[in-house]
């Protein structure tokens, strides 16, 4: 096939992420086409509006990253996205993609519109071994121990918990606390069934209590970006961080080894359940015949076993197909794979809630984490309201 330029937009710009994207580009270029990189820095919140206006504005790119889930729903309904069912059938995605909920999120009215590339889970607590050593306490094995160790860390001049200023980090941390403390069922009741009563209930009150602890422990975090917060953990300036598995890429890039330099606790060491959100590529409907063909090639390439391994190793995420060999995976990744194979999984909030509700949630938690005068009770009341009006 003649070389076709395909512009791919995404927001993977941190060190680990760029390295991972490079793998995708390499694989695609190997098919004789050309990957035109359209990175937009500053997280999905900045990038998504730009992507959407380009698609709705009639100047679509060749392919674009979204979190799979509900972010692209309306674009699909408006007929702006390309139907990938033909590729999916040919490549037997239904059989290879696991967990199947990933493909379900790409399916609208029985047609498949996106190609999932990885599984990301939020439910990780990353701890700096060096920090705890300096504070003279054991590296905690679960959330409660961590909370208990906080005063010692503080005394040693170490920030116990790093939470970056971007709103999604606070909201994400809360979701993680919820799974760990209230469990899978409550999580599903609140976010899947939008049960406002449960959201106002005692189980969730416990979660808010924990969030209150987290808030106290994170006081004094003077960074914005998640990877800056991770960097605090890497350099031992902070004790720990609640962040998704993508943080692993940063540790890897800094040359740290799981177990010796840092410790990872899935499900905060309390409740070993992980969510299976992730990233997917969507393909806007293009008029150009050549580009459409290239889109199909890209979709195929993304799920190619080799690509999946190379990409996910760099990215620190899990591959979307169960049939690949991840011998090179590190400790933490193996823990994740393990949980995944046990089926202790939930869907990510991106898949369960609309962007609108997500945003409201982010507003609530970023305010909660920044404002000590907001009581957990008040916050819970507002949380219940958001759930009540969520769709």
């Amino acid at each position: 096939a003649s070389a076709t330029d395909l512009e791919v937009t995404h927001w993977w710009t941190s060190g680990g992420e760029s390295a991972a994207v490079a793998e995708l580009a390499k694989a695609f270029d190997a098919t004789g086409n050309h990957w035109v990189d359209g990175a937009i820095a500053g997280s999905g919140g900045t990038a998504r509006p730009i992507m959407i206006s380009r698609i709705t504005g009639g100047d679509p790119m060749g392919a674009t990253q979204f979190n799979h889930g509900r972010q692209a729903e309306e674009l699909v309904q408006a007929g702006l996205m390309r139907d990938l069912t033909d590729v999916a059938t040919a490549e037997k995605w239904k059989d290879i993609i696991r967990p199947s909920s990933l493909l379900d999120s790409c399916t609208i009215d029985g047609k498949i519109y996106c190609a999932p590339v990885n599984i990301h889970s939020w439910q990780w607590l990353w701890l700096s071994n060096a920090a705890f050593k300096k504070a003279g306490v054991e590296v905690p094995k679960n959330w409660d121990e961590f909370v208990a160790a906080a005063p010692a860390l503080e005394k040693a001049g170490i920030l116990p918990l790093a939470v970056g200023g971007q709103p999604w980090q606070a909201a994400g941390a809360f979701d993680v606390l919820m799974v760990a403390i209230a469990g899978k069922d409550t999580f599903n009741k609140v976010f899947k069934d939008k049960d406002a009563e449960a959201a106002a209930g005692p189980e969730i009150a416990k979660v808010f209590k924990a969030a209150d602890d987290a808030r106290r422990m994170s006081k004094g975090t003077n960074v914005q970006d998640w990877n800056q917060a991770t960097n605090l953990v890497i350099t031992g300036k902070a004790g720990g961080q609640i962040m998704g598995d993508w943080a692993q890429g940063e540790f890897a890039l800094a040359g740290q080894k799981a177990g010796t330099d840092y410790t990872c606790l899935p499900g905060l060491g309390v409740n070993e359940i992980i969510s299976t959100g992730g990233d997917a590529f969507y393909f806007p409907l293009l008029k150009d015949e050549e580009k459409s063909k290239a889109q199909a090639v890209l979709a195929k390439t993304l799920l190619d076993p080799k690509t999946q391994v190379a990409f996910n190793l760099k990215k620190g995420s899990l591959p979307v197909r169960g049939d690949v060999d991840l011998a090179a995976a590190n400790d933490c990744m193996k823990k994740g794979l393990d949980i995944l194979s046990k089926g202790n999984v939930i869907q990510g909030t991106d898949q369960l809630l609309s962007a609108d509700s997500q945003k409201q949630k982010e507003d609530l938690f970023s305010e909660f984490f920044a404002n000590p005068s907001m009581t957990p009770e008040d916050a819970q009341k507002r949380f219940a309201e958001i759930i009540a009006s969520a769709d």
Partner: protein, 314 residues
């Protein structure tokens, strides 16, 4: 006329007294250089100047330091070891995603966006201002009022409709589209400036040219334009800075291969690879601000004059 003689002696008297100075103060009142007034005056100005210069100083100094020095140190201390590496990196090597060609690409994109946008928006606005000042017609003031009120509408309100309009015309995402957007949003303030300026030119000049037989365009090109340098400089500075510094439209109405420098800057600054490379960020920031700064430094004096002619008369 008998008394002419006596009066004349007074006149002659002038010559007699000259040369004789009385006692007491003479000549200019002494004004010591260190009078309280001067100390207050120059003291306040200097303190204010420091406040304005400080960030620039910090930017320059930081951009010349290596990362280790930054981590150790004091942002105000001069670099112990001057390095231009951050500049090189910011200009040619910094990465956003897979593209590691720094700001250089964005620079040329910005030039390609700014030059036509500035020329076209000024061309349109100057003609509009001229028509409003000298060729009023029924309704012209109404449209102008709408335009001016439009200047205060937050851009966010307009973005969506404009995306739709450009899409319908089929120029969304093209350079043409972006130039049009810049011309539209530059129009209110520029039109106001030009109108006020042309109103302040002597109306008789315009009348004389009409009597001489010159028409709308001839008067504009041959009479008005040559007299309007200051206001064109003001418009040019405003537009160059405005368009060069624009982020919102650049990000919404372009595609990555035509991203302007500010978007590139934002990408570089927000693409944190491990630690924030403040020195590179500062170098990138200075580089991005350089073009408007140079334009301003070169023509700042005319800017003030033009502001006086075009804005204050409002």
């Amino acid at each position: 006329m008998a008394n002419i003689g006596t009066l004349n002696t007074t006149a002659a008297g002038i010559d007699a007294v000259s040369g004789r100075l009385g006692d007491g103060p003479t000549g200019p009142k002494p004004r010591p250089a260190l009078s309280p007034r001067n100390i207050m005056l120059y003291g306040t100005l200097t303190i204010a100047a420091l406040y304005y210069l400080l960030p620039l100083y910090v930017m320059v100094v930081t951009s010349l330091k290596g990362m280790p020095e930054i981590r150790l140190g004091n942002i105000f201390s001069p670099p112990m070891e001057v390095t231009f590496e951050p500049w090189v990196k910011a200009w040619a090597e910094a990465c956003t995603g897979l593209n590691c060609d720094g700001l250089s690409r964005g620079f040329w994109n910005s030039v390609r966006i700014t030059v036509p946008s500035v020329i076209i928006s000024i061309a349109i606005a100057s003609v509009n201002g001229y028509a409003l000042a000298n060729w009023r017609f029924k309704g012209s003031e109404l449209f102008f009022s709408i335009l001016i009120i439009g200047a205060f509408i937050p851009y966010q309100v307009m973005i969506y409709p404009i995306v739709i309009i450009l899409r319908e015309i089929g120029i969304y995402g093209t350079l043409t589209g972006l130039v049009i957007v810049h011309s539209i949003f530059g129009m209110p303030i520029l039109t106001l400036l030009f109108r006020n300026y042309f109103v302040s030119l002597p109306e008789e000049l315009f009348k004389a040219a009409r009597v001489d037989g010159a028409g709308f365009w001839q008067i504009f090109l041959k009479i008005m334009l040559p007299m309007s340098l200051p206001i064109f400089v003001v418009a040019m500075i405003l537009q160059v800075t405005g368009i060069w510094n624009d982020f919102l439209f650049g990000v919404v109405f372009t595609r990555p291969d035509t991203y302007p420098m500010t978007v590139q800057l934002n990408n570089i600054v927000n693409s944190v690879q491990g630690v924030k490379e403040y020195n590179v960020n500062m170098a990138a920031t200075i580089l991005t601000g350089l073009v408007p700064l140079i334009v301003y430094f070169v023509s700042g004096r005319l800017f003030v004059r033009g502001i006086a002619a075009g804005a204050v008369k409002g």
